[in-house]
Structure formats: structure tokens, C-alpha cells
């Protein structure tokens, strides 16, 4: 009998009714962690000595979970999957970590990510490539790679994630699970290693919308240490979940979803978009109005660059504290400048260095207006466009990515440029700080694909309810990995 593939509510009942103990759950979770580590390389640290916790009224009490390795955990190695912090042990907990501790939740491992959350592949972490459990020759996507892999593999019902572009919602889709990033500022970022502060969100990866609601209910809350948080004490996501979505209005964007926009589509893109349209039909069957809307193609085309400019600029500044003087391995050299250069040259992967250069370039006096300020302007235009949609519609529904998980090697890149907007549009959710959830909506070539629902700021409940209703019609709720090969 295994438990770790069950949902939170079921586990809680089993604990309350003493069918199983917290100790037994932890042991199962740690055993599975080692199996998944062997197969997919999903963890930086497995906490073999994790202690059982008292089972209380709190739904999360006594239940194991995974923590992305960019959440500061007091006394436990926290690396951000970077060589620059490969031995860093924080002496304080991130606020979200504290809140999970208060619930008596049991952290059993720290999950691998793309270095400092940069990159969407799951291959740039300092401990090596994270593999997709459905097909280990494929990417898990990232940056919350290990979290997605572990939840999909039934290591535990949930893991924390962070999302700057799509770092929760993309790997969730590739691994066939749920990924939810609530409204910006709902969960404190204090103690989360920053990537791009104006885009960074905390969130979670689960196997059901219900579990996502339970976990975020626990993680959220105003925090005196994070000025961007807001008071959400009157929001009870789990309590208010309902499948009553009749009359809700959804829209999808023609320029993103219409196969005619992609002149040379790969078969999986065709299948993915066909599958998406089936999901749209399901929405209609649930009594929701779904309309196709049109958004300026030029604006959409600019989106990926806007993300690169803003995220790289903020990242290069945010990571200037990594000098190897106060924490991290001290570099070699005769002057502080040499020591710092040595540390940073050796510590960061090439992708990050490339992004730092872009970030510095776009902030330089002579480039700032052309790149950085223009990117801010286009960000505003995109957010305004989406906010206009939210005046009419409860949420925007769109396919995640251009198909299922990509091959780690040997993927032809011919249509990449063409389908770029499909790969990148989730970033608009970060531009606006919108609540956004990805749920699995089927399979392409036996590999899971996902659909995303994004709503207006502070409207998390609506977004979750739509996802909750839709999930119940599709039969992928609670799914764990069935290996394809």
C-alpha cells in the first residue's frame, strides 16, 4: 500500500484515523526520493533524518513535502542549484518555510532547479540534468524541475516552486501535474533567492487543484519583511472551492491558439492545439462561455524580448551580492576584484553569465531608454491588454508550450522561432502579477500536456474554481507518472 501518491485530504484523514503514521509517510517519501534521485536526479538534498511531526487539525500536518532549493531553510543546505552557494547553509527560514513549519508539514528534500531559477530546461543546476520521469530522454522543464518531477513521481503530494517566467507552470505541464502561482505578493518572497524581483512569485506544484488551494492557503499572508505582500486573511481558497462555474466567461487568443499562425507546424503542435480545442469544448459543456479574442500580433511578438530585458536587468543587480566574501567559497586573487571575478567566473553557468551581460547592457546609460525603458513600456501595454480582457472575461485560457516535453538532445529547432509565443506567453502572468494555474489536459504521443488559466490580480478564487471544475471533467486529477518507454 502506498500513500505518497494520494491527495492531501485523503492523507490527512488516514493520519487522523491512525491508518498510517507521519513516520510511515516520511519513510515512504524518503524511499521514493532515493528512487527518483536515481532515475531523474531531482534533489540537491534528501533529508534522511526528517522528523515526524504532530498531526493536528491542519491538513498539512505530518505530511511530507519537497522544497525548491531557492527557499532559505534554516540549518539546511540551500544552494539555488548554483556552485556559487554550493555550501551555503542559511541561518534563517524564508517566511513561506516558516509558515509550512507552523503547519507541522514535513520537509523531506530540497529539489533541483535551474541555477537561481534562470532557464526553463532543468539542465543548468550544479548537480546535473533533471530528467522527465515520463521519459528520461526528455526535459522536465524548469526552473522548478525537481519539484515537478518529484510530485509527478508520487514522492509526496506537493512541493514548493517559484515562478519568474513560467518556472512552476511549464514543468507542471511537462510532468502532467498542477502548477499554481498566486497573485504577486500573496506569498512572501522573504528568504526566496531572487531572480527578478518584480516578476518572482512563490507557488506550489501538486497533483490536484484542491491540493494547490490547501498549500497556498498555508503559504500566503502579509509579511512585515516583504513590502510587496498584501493582506489576504479573508481569502480561503480551499474552503471556497466550487465547481459551480456556469456562466463564467473565458477567452483564448486567436494569435496564439490558431494553428494557421504556424506555417510549418510539427505534428505534436497540431495535436497539442487540437487537444486544447477539446478542452475548450469541455469548458463550454460546463456551462462557461468561451470566446476567441484577437490581440495585436506586434505586441505579442515583442513579449519574449520584454521578458529577457527586464528579467536579465533585475537578475544582474539581484545577484551582485554574490561576491564570495560574505558567503560562498572565497575566490582566488591578489585584490578583492580579482577574487570576486574568480568566484563568479567559476561559480556561474554560462547561461547565467550570458544573462548578466544582457542585463548590464540594457541598463547602460546609452542603452537604457532603448531597451530597459521600452521593455517597461511594452510590459505595461501587455498588462493593460490583459486587464482589458479581464473586464469582460473571468480568465484567459491558453495551451502551455508547443507540445509535450522536449528531448534533451537531438531536437530539431526549425519551428522554435515560429512557435515562440506559445512557449513564452505564460510570462505575461508574471508581468501583471496575475494568478495563474496550469493543469494537465491530456497527452500527445503518450506524454502529458497542460492548459493554463490566468485571471486578474486578487481573483485567485475564480481562477482556481474554473480549474477545479475543468479538472473534474478530464480525469487527470491526481495522476502520477506512467513511464512511456
Amino acid at each position: 500500500m502506498s500513500y505518497m501518491d494520494k491527495g492531501i485530504k485523503e492523507l490527512h484523514e488516514a493520519l487522523i484515523n491512525k491508518k498510517v503514521t507521519s513516520r510511515e509517510l516520511i519513510e515512504e517519501s524518503i524511499r521514493k526520493s532515493h528512487e527518483v534521485q536515481e532515475k531523474c536526479n531531482a534533489f540537491v538534498t534528501i533529508l534522511d533524518d526528517a522528523k515526524e511531526q504532530e498531526v493536528t487539525d491542519n491538513l498539512l500536518s505530518g505530511i511530507p513535502f519537497g522544497m525548491k532549493d531557492n527557499y532559505s531553510t534554516k540549518g539546511i543546505l540551500t544552494t539555488g542549484s548554483s556552485n556559487t552557494l554550493k555550501d551555503y547553509v542559511p541561518f534563517f527560514d524564508a517566511t513561506a518555510v516558516e509558515k509550512l513549519k507552523e503547519a507541522h508539514a514535513v520537509m523531506v528534500n530540497k529539489t533541483v532547479m535551474d541555477e537561481f531559477g534562470m532557464g526553463g530546461s532543468g539542465i543548468t543546476g550544479h548537480t546535473g540534468i533533471v530528467r522527465n520521469p515520463w521519459d528520461v530522454t526528455r526535459m522536465s522543464a524548469g526552473s522548478s524541475a525537481g519539484s515537478a518531477v518529484a510530485v509527478a513521481s508520487g514522492v509526496y503530494p506537493y512541493a514548493t516552486g517559484s515562478d519568474t517566467g513560467d518556472s512552476i507552470r511549464k514543468p507542471a505541464a511537462y510532468c502532467g501535474i498542477v502548477g499554481y502561482k498566486p497573485t504577486y505578493g500573496m506569498i512572501s518572497r522573504y528568504g526566496l533567492f531572487p531572480f527578478a524581483s518584480s516578476l518572482d512569485h512563490c507557488g506550489c506544484l501538486t497533483r490536484s487543484v484542491e491540493d494547490a488551494a490547501i498549500v497556498v492557503d498555508q503559504m500566503k499572508g502579509i509579511d512585515k519583511n516583504d513590502m510587496t505582500t498584501w493582506d489576504s486573511k479573508d481569502i480561503h481558497l480551499y474552503e471556497n472551492l466550487t465547481k459551480e462555474v456556469k456562466g463564467k466567461k473565458l477567452c483564448y487568443i486567436k494569435e496564439i491558439c490558431d494553428i494557421k499562425n504556424y506555417p510549418n507546424p510539427k505534428e505534436e503542435l497540431v495535436l497539442h492545439l487540437e487537444n486544447f480545442m477539446k478542452t475548450i469544448e469541455l469548458c463550454k459543456n460546463l456551462g462557461m462561455d468561451v470566446e476567441e479574442v484577437s490581440v495585436d500580433q506586434t505586441l505579442l511578438d515583442a513579449e519574449p524580448s520584454v521578458y529577457v530585458v527586464i528579467s536579465c536587468a533585475e537578475a544582474t543587480s539581484n545577484m551582485s551580492n554574490l561576491t564570495g566574501f560574505i558567503f560562498g567559497p572565497r575566490g582566488e586573487g591578489n585584490t578583492w576584484m580579482e577574487m570576486m571575478k574568480d568566484y563568479r567566473t567559476k561559480g556561474f553557468c554560462s547561461l547565467i553569465k550570458r544573462r548578466f551581460i544582457i542585463g548590464s547592457y540594457v541598463l547602460q546609460k546609452e542603452n537604457k531608454d532603448r531597451y530597459f525603458h521600452n521593455a517597461q513600456r511594452v510590459r505595461r501595454l501587455l498588462v493593460d491588454t490583459w486587464k482589458d480582457l479581464f473586464k469582460t472575461y473571468d480568465a484567459v485560457i491558453l495551451p502551455v508550450g508547443s507540445g509535450p516535453a522536449k528531448k534533451l538532445e537531438g531536437e530539431e529547432k526549425s519551428s522554435d522561432r515560429e512557435s515562440e509565443i506559445l512557449e513564452e506567453h505564460l510570462q505575461i502572468g508574471n508581468f501583471g502579477g496575475f494568478p495563474s494555474i496550469t493543469i494537465p489536459n491530456g497527452f500527445v504521443h503518450g506524454l502529458p500536456v497542460g492548459v493554463n488559466i490566468t485571471g486578474n490580480c486578487y481573483d485567485d478564487q475564480n481562477v482556481l474554481n474554473i480549474a477545479y471544475a475543468l479538472e473534474s471533467e478530464m480525469g487527470y486529477k491526481g495522476q502520477t507518472v506512467k513511464e512511456v518507454k
Binding site: P90, P194, D226, M227, T228, S317, N321, L363, K368
Partner: protein, 486 residues
């Protein structure tokens, strides 16, 4: 110099010392000799830490902005100034730039410079965080993060100052304002005040309202005392005049120099071409917040009495000279002492005399702070009253004053202990005087012949006899009376 005039602008950094905590951190904002004792994770930029704005620091900076007649922003923003330096743990300083506007722009301040009223325009005032302090010792350096995150007000003036004297007087006025407003102790000994100085020169007859007439601006960094500001400006003016006379002034490039206290010279650091690009952008972790005009009004109503106001009061209400009034208001502690004296009912002129001569003289000689001096306004009152009630002479009062400071005992107690009581009894003095006169027939004769200065001799004799305790006025009048009888 007569052929040229100097155009001097200042960037004055002053730590806000009077908040409980730092500007973006909950660590205590206290000066401490123990390194790294006032720090929180954010002060050392541990990953994931975030800045939280200290409302009191914002309140104080708005107050400074109001005092300087600046315009306050509708919304408050902070920006990141990005550069790498070991004393800057985050790799950027949270500060304010001119766009979006900082806590104050376009104000002005009128100040006194040796009796002349001067006005300097304020370009802007902004709130930022201080860096850590680094000490370089041979092959290694030590960093003290106590100072990292201490709130700092940077005030930038237009180049309206014309001499080192004006610059220093301006800085002294600003220091007094910060002290009076309860913003800062403004103590340069604690490193709370630091200045950058801009200097250029132009021909005396050129119009200084026309920007085209301005010479190349030289910036002198890190001048940490007012004396240093004076010396650096004077040195730099001389240096630039020399270049001008040699015809080399116009080829001089815009540059940053450093004041070297030891050699008393400015030393080339970098040219404008090598100026650091700080890659400013709005700090995303601090959401812009609205400055409620009602809050600004409230802050305005809470501005304490400022030195300019006291200066006027001292002259018009108390009839003090401009010179004395200026001395009294220069340091808030001194002025507060004076105010306390007035409250206790001491005559203003008398209090002013005691403070400006004896007390400040002592403080300067012993290198003390006003708060360290033992004698309180109440004690000073006792001392002054002993004189006015003829209990002791003013000569005795002076001696007693120093004795009080030395022994740290109250004047009344000490006077008794030392037997310092004036002989003001007619009877007692008269018997002493009669005795002296009896023994000086010759001198009485001389006096009567018109040599009136002999009277001083008799007074001296009486003083000698009474060991200075005789009341001088009474002594003279009895002497004249008794001599008249003979």
C-alpha cells in the same frame, strides 16, 4: 583671487541618527564601537533578504525637505545604484535619483556668513542607505557592517557658493538645522557628515547666472570635516587659478579628485570619461507609495524651533548682539542650555555672557561636548545670584566657576566649603577700613592733595586684608566717607 570668482557646489551627506532602526532594516541605528554588533541579515545582503522602508526615516527626510523649501514628491520611489565595492554588500545602494523625483527638489536656504545673508539653491535632497565601513590594514581589510543601512540624507546644492568661508558657514547652518530638527546629531567625529565638493572658477566680471560662463567642474570626493572642506576648496581654487594663469585651465578635463588631508592637496582620481555607469533602475522590492499631503502638513506642524528662529528671538526679544546670538545658536546643545537658563529666570545677557565666554571657552579648551559639562543651568543660576546678592564678588564667582567644574560640586556647597562669602556688612568693613586708615596717615594726606588714585591703593589694602571677600563698591563708598571724616 581678485581677478576670479569661485563657483562652489556641495554634496552634503548626513546620517539620520535619530531613528530607532536603519532605513531598510530592523537593525538598531546606534553608533557602536563594537564592530558588527548592529546587523540583521539584510545588512549583509544574505540571499533572499528584502528592504523594508523605515517610516520615521521618511518622516525626517520630508521634514528636512520642508525646512529647505523643497517640493515633495506625490509618490515616493527608491532606486538601485549598482556598483561593486567590498563595503557595499548588495552590490547596489538603495537611493533616490532625480527622476522619479526624490524626497525634495528645488529648495533654497538663506544663511549667515560673517554678518552677511547668503542664499544657496538646493538642487535636491534624497534619502538613501549608508555603506559599511572598511578598514585597510596592510595585506588585509576588515569590514564593519554596523554602518551598512544607516539612513543617509544627501543634499545637493547648486554652485552658488563663492568662497570656502561661505561653504563652511552653509555647512554649519545645515548641521544646526539637522540637530534642531531632531534629524541627526550631525557629529562629524562619528563620521555622520561627509561632503563632496565641486569647484570651478570664472573671471570676476563674468555673469554667473549664465551657465556658459562656468569653468570646468572639478569634483572633490570624501571630505570628512568642515576644516577639510575649507582647506580643499582653498587649495583647489589656487590650483585652478594657477592653471588659468598658465593658460592651461581650458584644456583641463572634467574630473574627480580626492582630498588628501595629510598633504593638504587634492589628488586626481578619474576623468569624466571613466565615470562609473551606475545603471540606476527603480527598486522593485519597494512599491512606490503615496505621500499623503495631510501627512506632509502634519510633519510641517511638527518642525521644532530652528536656529534661524532662535537667532531672531535672541536679538529682538533678549537684546543680544548678533555676534553673541550667532554663537549661541550654532550648536543646538548650547542653545538649549541657554533656553533653559532663560526658563529658570536668569537674565538673558548675563546667561549669554557666562555661556559665550566661560562655558564655551572651557568646552573648547578641554575638547568637550556641551552635555558633558558639570555645571547645569540651575547651578549657573545659583552662581549668578550669589553675585547679584553681593554674597560673592564677580572675581570670586569666576574662581568658583572653575572650582565647580573641577570638584564637581554645587556652587552653593562649594562656596560654603571654601568660605567664599563676601563681606558686605557695613560694620565689619568699616572697622577694617578704619584700622587701615589709621596706619596710613601719609596716604590720606596725598589723597586729600588730589591724588585720587590713592583710593585704589586703599581698596587693594582692604582686599588684601579680607582676602578678596570685601564688596568692592561698598568698600569704596565707606573709604570715601571715612577719609572725608578725617
Amino acid at each position: 583671487m581678485a581677478k576670479y570668482k569661485a563657483c562652489i557646489g556641495l554634496e552634503m551627506h548626513c546620517e539620520i541618527s535619530e531613528t530607532n532602526t536603519k532605513v531598510f532594516s530592523s537593525a538598531a541605528n546606534t553608533y557602536s564601537d563594537v564592530p558588527n554588533s548592529n546587523i540583521r541579515p539584510v545588512d549583509m545582503a544574505f540571499p533572499g533578504t528584502l528592504p523594508v522602508v523605515n517610516k520615521e526615516a521618511v518622516r525626517k527626510s520630508i521634514m528636512a525637505s520642508l525646512i529647505l523649501g523643497c517640493k515633495q514628491p506625490e509618490y515616493m520611489y527608491f532606486e538601485r545604484k549598482n556598483y561593486y565595492y567590498p563595503d557595499l554588500p548588495k552590490g547596489y545602494q538603495i537611493t533616490q535619483e532625480t527622476k522619479p523625483i526624490p524626497v525634495g527638489i528645488y529648495g533654497k536656504l538663506t544663511f549667515d556668513c560673517n554678518g552677511e545673508q547668503k542664499t544657496v539653491r538646493i538642487n535636491n535632497l534624497h534619502l538613501e542607505e549608508d555603506a559599511a565601513s572598511a578598514d585597510h590594514t596592510g595585506s588585509y581589510s576588515t569590514i564593519d557592517y554596523n554602518r551598512a543601512g544607516v539612513p543617509l540624507l544627501e543634499l545637493v546644492t547648486e554652485p552658488d557658493l563663492r568662497s570656502a568661508e561661505e561653504a563652511v558657514n552653509f555647512l554649519e547652518t545645515m548641521r544646526a538645522i539637522y540637530q534642531y530638527a531632531g534629524i541627526s546629531e550631525a557629529d562629524s567625529k562619528k563620521g555622520q557628515i561627509r561632503c563632496d565638493v565641486n569647484v570651478s572658477i570664472m573671471d570676476e566680471d563674468k555673469d554667473d547666472t549664465n551657465l556658459e560662463n562656468y569653468g570646468t567642474k572639478i569634483e572633490i570626493k570624501n571630505v570628512n570635516s568642515f576644516g577639510g572642506v575649507r582647506d580643499a576648496i582653498n587649495y583647489e581654487i589656487e590650483r585652478q587659478i594657477e592653471l588659468k594663469e598658465d593658460g592651461k585651465y581650458d584644456e583641463m578635463e572634467q574630473q574627480t579628485r580626492r582630498w588628501d588631508e595629510e598633504s593638504g592637496t587634492t589628488i586626481y582620481m578619474r576623468s569624466k570619461v571613466d565615470a562609473i555607469d551606475y545603471k540606476y533602475f527603480v527598486e522593485p522590492n519597494i512599491p512606490k507609495f503615496r505621500i499623503d499631503p495631510a501627512w506632509v502638513e502634519k510633519i510641517k506642524s511638527e518642525i521644532p524651533e530652528l536656529p534661524m528662529e532662535r537667532l531672531e528671538k535672541y536679538q529682538e526679544q533678549f537684546g543680544l548682539s548678533a555676534y553673541d546670538a550667532n554663537i549661541l545658536v550654532k550648536e543646538k546643545e548650547v542653545s538649549d542650555y541657554f533656553e533653559e537658563c532663560i526658563k529658570l529666570g536668569i537674565d538673558a545677557k548675563s546667561a549669554s555672557n557666562w555661556i559665550t565666554t566661560r562655558i564655551l571657552g572651557h568646552i573648547n579648551k578641554e575638547n568637550l561636548q556641551m552635555r558633558e559639562i558639570y555645571i547645569t543651568p540651575a547651578m549657573l543660576k545659583d552662581l549668578i545670584e550669589m553675585v547679584s546678592s553681593n554674597q560673592i564678588s564677580s572675581k570670586q564667582a569666576k574662581d568658583l566657576f572653575y572650582k565647580v567644574l573641577e570638584d564637581k560640586k554645587e556652587p552653593k556647597v562649594l562656596a560654603k566649603e571654601l568660605g567664599m562669602e563676601q563681606i558686605a556688612s557695613d560694620e565689619e568693613l568699616r572697622s577694617i577700613i578704619v584700622k587701615i586708615l589709621d596706619a596710613n596717615e601719609e596716604n590720606i594726606k596725598k589723597y586729600k592733595e588730589g591724588r585720587t588714585n590713592v583710593l585704589d591703593y586703599f581698596v587693594g589694602q582692604v582686599m588684601k586684608e579680607t582676602r578678596g571677600k570685601a564688596n568692592p563698591a561698598l568698600t569704596s563708598s565707606i573709604l570715601i566717607e571715612e577719609i572725608g571724616k578725617r
